[in-house]
């Protein structure tokens, strides 16, 4: 197995574990969307290997883990990953703060899509705290970026970036 593939699979699994880990009630609204963040990193780093199709499969897994309608998170994730994929060269050269701002907008977009489907289904979340997860996600982005980049450089040394 390609070291890049192995590392990306492992980190996505870790992101899933973080996203299902029990948290106290007050903290749940602030939990960043780990899976989306990690996937965004991998699309930026390896756009030739990881793209919208993988994002869709990961999104379906997210739907199952959230007990949501099948396709709800998948739809949001595919659109976010499409944007990242088409802009990955610009994103790579941006500073971490600029990246975090773009990521914030992208996470908001995904949440808006998920919210839109929940609204159609008749059970939208009842508080504005819903969008806090995008903010914490953006705040966590620099760390995620640096940790994953270092991991990749350490274990997958053959890459070009």
């Amino acid at each position: 197995m390609n070291p890049n593939t192995r590392l990306s699979t492992l980190t996505i699994i870790a992101a899933f574990i973080l996203s299902m880990m029990p948290l106290p009630d007050w903290a749940q609204a602030f939990r960043p969307d780990w899976v989306t963040l990690v996937l965004i990193y991998w699309v930026m780093a390896l756009p030739a290997n990881i793209g919208v199709t993988i994002a869709w499969c990961v999104g379906l897994m997210l739907d199952v883990s959230h007990g949501a309608l099948l396709g709800q998170h998948a739809l949001g994730l595919v659109l976010v990953i499409y944007v990242v994929h088409s802009q990955h060269q610009r994103l790579r050269v941006a500073s971490l703060v600029q990246q975090a701002i773009v990521i914030f907008i992208l996470l908001l977009m995904k949440q808006a899509i998920v919210l839109w489907v929940s609204g159609i289904m008749g059970h939208p979340p009842d508080s504005w705290l819903y969008f806090m997860s995008s903010l914490t996600g953006a705040l966590f982005w620099p760390w995620i970026y640096i940790i994953l980049r270092d991991l990749r450089r350490k274990f997958a040394h053959k890459s070009h970036y």
Binding site: I17, M20, L23, R31, L70, G71, L75, V78
Partner: protein, 283 residues
């Protein structure tokens, strides 16, 4: 070697296809139950992760049990023995009542009640979705769990299964915003529907007329209407009643009796399904 150019169909084409696929999947999942197969297959991948997350908590309970002292065990044992005796006495009475009930029903030529079977399941400690009242249990279709099967605990009704995979099921609690449970008031047999609110600690009773005989502290039990839940299980206690003259109905809120966020062990109930007799533990 990494190729310089992307192969296969273009990214925008793939995105459009996947967006259409997502919308199609959502529609199918919402309208029909056929997508459960996809969900079950994906659950197989997810279950080890959920199990891993739950493991530290399981380990904590296990060490707690293994390392408890002799005295604690003895005192717990004697307490449980007392409880057992108490419950035995109650059950004896209940047995006689049940026999009498069947006899009277026979006299009336009414259909006798079918017994209910239960199975203990454990809640897996994973967060599902903070904006919905869902939880995961460790029993699935391998244990003949079915979709919309009622779940109770020692205090009252917890909810029903909404997705069932081979080894685990997702349970929608009665407090989920899209859950409605047909209930009746124990004291007066007044029927109502208890709607979930999305908050773990209260239910809404809608469409109760102003002249209804309803008081704070009344117990709500399942009415068995709708056929999903067996009748006469406790559900909630009415905590507040607001009668304002400009509203068409009374605003009634009730607090669930079941320990929705604290139970570790829950009971799956089979009712009106005599054909599975023998496969499940008798209560």
């Amino acid at each position: 070697m990494q190729s310089l150019f992307l192969q296969g169909p273009s990214v925008i084409f793939r995105t459009v296809i996947l967006v259409i696929a997502s919308i199609g999947l959502m529609t199918l999942d919402h309208r029909s139950g056929q997508m459960e197969i996809v969900r079950n297959t994906l659950s197989y991948v997810l279950y080890p992760l959920q199990y891993t997350i739950d493991l530290p908590i399981r380990l904590y309970h296990w060490t707690d049990e293994t390392l408890s002292t002799h005295e604690t065990l003895l005192s717990e044992n004697s307490r449980l023995e007392d409880l057992y005796l108490e419950n035995r006495v109650r059950l004896q009475k209940l047995d006689i009542l049940e026999k009498e009930n069947t006899r009277l029903r026979k006299l009336l030529r009414a259909t006798p009640k079918i017994g209910e079977q239960v199975l203990i399941a454990e809640i897996i400690n994973v967060d599902v979705d903070p904006y919905r009242q869902l939880t995961v249990i460790n029993k699935g279709s391998n244990d003949k769990v079915y979709i919309s099967q009622p779940i109770i605990d020692a205090q009252g009704v917890i909810g029903q299964t909404i997705h069932v995979s081979a080894t685990s099921s997702t349970v929608m609690l009665i407090t989920d915003a899209s859950h409605a449970l047909p209930v009746q008031i124990d004291r007066t047999s007044l029927r109502a529907v208890a709607f979930g609110t999305g908050k773990i600690d209260y239910l809404d009773l809608r469409h109760i007329p102003h002249n209804a005989d309803i008081r704070e502290g009344d117990t709500l039990i399942t009415s068995g209407l709708g056929g999903r839940f067996p009748a006469n299980y406790p559900v909630a206690v009415i905590t507040s009643i607001e009668r304002s003259p400009d509203e068409a109905f009374v605003t009634v809120t009730a607090e669930p009796l079941a320990l929705l966020d604290r139970s570790r062990e829950v009971l799956l109930v089979w009712h009106n399904q005599p054909q599975i007799k023998g496969d499940v533990d008798e209560p």
